[in-house]
């Protein structure tokens, strides 16, 4: 059912941590299945230099958060804006059809944290 990549990320999720005093923090949730994902980012010179992800959710959600965190590190925020669900899905080796909500959750959390970061910078 799950690809080996998903299982690997689920068993050993990357960057599971809170970042005290992070540049931005945001959370997203899926009201249908109750999954929640919280992303912490430190941004330096417009680049994600540190990322933490905490997830409570199904294995696909955990894996999506984990693989997203790997993608983000060292990525300019301007490029992260372009990350869509199918990018995350591809990075996971494909999710089962009824698990697309997991990549939705990760991308929602990403958008939220970018929004948070950008609104903080506004005057």
């Amino acid at each position: 059912m799950y690809s080996d990549i998903v299982k690997n990320h689920f068993a050993n999720p990357r960057n599971v941590k809170e970042i005290p005093g992070a540049t931005a923090v945001a959370e997203a949730d899926n009201p249908v299945c109750g999954d929640i994902m919280k992303i912490f980012v430190n941004v330096v010179d417009g680049v994600f230099c540190d990322v933490g992800v905490k997830t409570r959710g199904c294995p696909a959600a955990v894996a999506a958060g984990s693989v997203l965190s790997e993608m983000l590190i060292d990525l300019p925020v301007a490029e992260a804006v372009r990350i869509e669900t199918r990018v995350v899905d591809r990075a996971l080796g494909g999710l089962p059809r009824n698990k697309q909500h997991a990549t939705d959750l990760a991308v929602d959390a990403l958008r939220a944290v970018i929004h948070q970061f950008q609104s903080e910078r506004l005057p």
Binding site: A11, V32, K38, R56, C58, V62
Partner: protein, 385 residues
């Protein structure tokens, strides 16, 4: 076979070795169609009738002819409910909020087609109140359908008491006994039911087999029309090896029932106590007294059920979440919601169902791995316990 620890016996069971052996000659040797006239077919017919007697005897039916062979629990249930309802054209149907989807979806389908449906609530432990049944009963109630024990939380329902409530009613009383035949003593006279459904693969018999008990005299239409097998009520060539296997499985289980009940009670007690001792924020769902000896069902706060299932799977332990009969749906189980769990709690729940091969060592292994996995998930969660 992998050295897995299989704790999902409510989903399905392995076929017992004696059952395999009993099925063996009927695949390619004595493969005849039991409705044919020649000796080769007559042999199959006699074996099928022998199986019918075994089953009738095991469930206390008055006559073997009250037992009809089907292809599984779902077919038995669909047949019982539609066979009663469609034969009567209109009327009121009474069921509970925690039925298996085979009952639930069939009732909803009948409701779409003009039958009136009452879905009774259950208490926090999942028990249906016979007094509620009495109150809900109407003069035009044609069918009452309840499960003998719940497949998720293992609650055993007061079927006998409901049966008594119904003695003066015209309503047919169907019992979904898929989780109890071969696991609890079954006597259809004592249960006072008119119809009873069972499934082979839940009792160490073959998948794709089941039976429906239907009391003689009950007005029941067929679900499968055709060649007129099973006394014109269930057409289709008999699955001879399957039928032989089903009867053998019930025979074996009946013999083992007492010992197995003792063993399972002790093992599930060990698992429950171990979990409560080692894992904070763990709540046992269902009833403490009225419970299948094999069932252990917990909510682990601030975790997610499917993640626990996969986490345990990676450690070689098979358990399940939700209704265990369908992974299609994302929604929290209607059973857990009916006993008052929040969506969040329902989705943080796991079912362990023990079986014939479960050992103390396996339970202890689970008690090692499970707390670690719960802790791991909780450490990943953005919420505190």
């Amino acid at each position: 076979m992998d050295p897995i620890i299989y704790l999902d016996h409510a989903a399905t069971t392995p076929v017992d070795p004696a059952v395999r052996k009993a099925m063996d000659p009927w695949f390619a040797q004595d493969f005849g169609n039991p409705t044919t006239l020649y000796a080769h077919g007559v042999r199959a017919d006699e074996a099928v009738e022998g199986a019918r007697q075994t089953i009738a005897h095991a469930i206390g039916a008055q006559r073997p002819q009250e037992v009809y062979f089907t292809a599984g629990g779902t077919e038995s249930i669909n047949w019982a409910l539609k066979g009663i309802a469609l034969e009567r054209v209109r009327g009121h149907i009474l069921t509970s909020a925690i039925e298996h989807s085979a009952v639930r979806e069939t009732c909803l389908w009948l409701a779409e087609r003009g039958f009136e449906l009452t879905i009774l609530p259950v208490a926090h432990d999942g028990v249906v109140d016979p007094a509620e049944v009495r109150r809900a009963l109407r003069s035009d109630t044609i069918l009452v359908t309840l499960m003998h024990a719940n497949n998720e939380i293992g609650t055993i329902e007061p079927i006998e008491e409901v049966g008594s409530v119904l003695t003066d009613s015209e309503a047919a009383f169907h019992v979904d006994a898929v989780q109890t035949v071969a696991h609890l003593p079954i006597d259809v006279q004592q249960l006072r039911c008119d119809l009873l459904s069972a499934s082979g693969h839940k009792l160490y018999g073959p998948k794709g087999t089941g039976f429906l008990y239907a009391r003689s005299g009950i007005r029941l239409g067929p679900l499968l029309h055709g060649g007129g097998q099973e006394r014109e009520l269930r057409s289709g060539t008999h699955n001879v090896p399957g039928i032989i296997g089903l009867a053998k499985a019930l025979e074996v289980s009946t013999r083992l029932l007492e010992t197995e009940t003792q063993q399972l009670t002790a093992l599930s007690r060990r698992l429950i106590d171990g979990i409560l001792e080692r894992i904070p924020g763990a709540t046992l769902n269902g009833s403490t007294e009225r419970r299948l000896p094999s069932n252990v069902h917990f909510t682990f706060e601030n975790t997610q059920g499917e993640a626990l299932v996969l986490g345990l799977d990676l450690a070689g332990i098979c358990v399940s979440t939700g209704s265990a009969c369908s992974t299609v749906s994302l929604e929290p189980s209607h059973v857990l919601k009916a006993i008052g769990l929040s969506d969040e709690q329902a989705l943080a729940s796991v079912r362990f169902t023990l079986g014939r091969s479960t050992t103390e060592e396996q339970i202890d292994a689970v008690l090692e791995v499970l707390p670690e996995e719960v802790n791991r998930l909780r450490a990943m969660s953005p919420r505190a316990l």
